[in-house]
């Protein structure tokens, strides 16, 4: 990433993305549905499977 202007343009675009996402994040955090019992476990298991799968791929390559 040698071109400083490209770096600045990318940072500015990411900054805009931050500005766009913030209201949505705030709304989901304040008014989004809350997890029920067992919900987080049901989400964490596939995410741990993804971690395990990536570790397997690292060993394979």
């Amino acid at each position: 990433m040698d071109n400083i202007w490209l770096q600045i343009a990318l940072a500015a675009t990411m900054g805009m993305m931050l500005f766009f996402l913030y209201p949505r994040a705030k709304q989901w955090m304040q008014n989004g549905p809350k997890a029920e019992q067992g919900d987080w476990m049901a989400a964490v298991i596939p995410l741990l499977a993804v971690v395990g799968f990536v570790l397997l791929l690292i060993m394979l390559v």
Partner: protein, 223 residues
């Protein structure tokens, strides 16, 4: 009697609408991924410099923020989504050209591609069949995205290899969670626009592929 019929008809209509959104989303997603792959091959054939990746990502992000929301409810939204995914595919080609020059480059690319496919199909299949509503992850996913964007902005200038790797790992997990969330949103009627749904899932797949490519590029092929 009439009221009774309505209560049966409404969930049936809603289920039909949900099925239509899911079907259209996966069809459009397949088409955009195919188009993206063709654009990546074009970019590799032209031997585009790495700068093309940054320009494509900036252009696609601007289109995603300013043009797609204005066109997603009309047929022109389909043209915009193909433009975005085509640009990202073209940019990706420049990165793949770099990886192909590495000793284990072709193997790393193939593994990252296969791995991304398995992760996406596995998570989508899980979200579609588990009957659970993962909408509760919305706050976590969007807050995580904000943190990741701040870290990415910092690392554009700092260029710390360790932070770059941590960002890749974080983005991969976050996008995996986002696939569960987005698929659940489509199933439960939270997302009714298949163009937005396609854009979201495409971005998740794209980010997982790029992150996995970087992780495998760093850790893989030490023999």
């Amino acid at each position: 009697m009439n009221r009774f019929n309505q209560t049966i008809a409404q969930p049936a209509q809603s289920a039909l609408a949900v099925n239509k959104v899911i079907k259209n989303t996966y069809m459009l997603l397949s088409a955009t991924l195919f188009f993206s792959a063709i654009m990546a091959m074009v970019s590799m054939f032209l031997a585009m410099p790495p700068m093309a990746y940054l320009i494509s990502v900036i252009g696609a992000m601007l289109l995603g923020m300013f043009v797609l929301p204005r066109t997603a409810n009309s047929s022109s939204g389909i043209g915009v989504i193909f433009l975005i995914t085509g640009m990202l595919g073209f940019g990706l080609g420049a990165i793949l050209t770099l990886y192909l020059q590495l000793p284990h480059g072709p193997q790393t690319i193939a593994t990252a591609l296969g791995g991304t496919g398995v992760i996406f199909l596995g998570l989508s299949g899980y979200a579609l069949t588990s009957k659970r509503d993962f909408s509760f992850m919305g706050g976590f996913v969007f807050a995580g995205m904000l943190v990741m964007i701040v870290a990415i902005i910092a690392n554009i200038f700092l260029q710390l290899p360790f932070l770059s790797l941590a960002i890749s790992a974080g983005v991969m997990l976050l996008m995996s969670a986002y696939i569960l969330f987005q698929t659940s949103q489509m199933m439960n009627g939270g997302e009714t626009n298949y163009i937005f749904a396609t854009y979201s899932l495409y971005m998740a797949i794209f980010n997982i592929f790029i992150s996995l490519l970087q992780i495998l590029g760093v850790f893989g092929g030490d023999d």
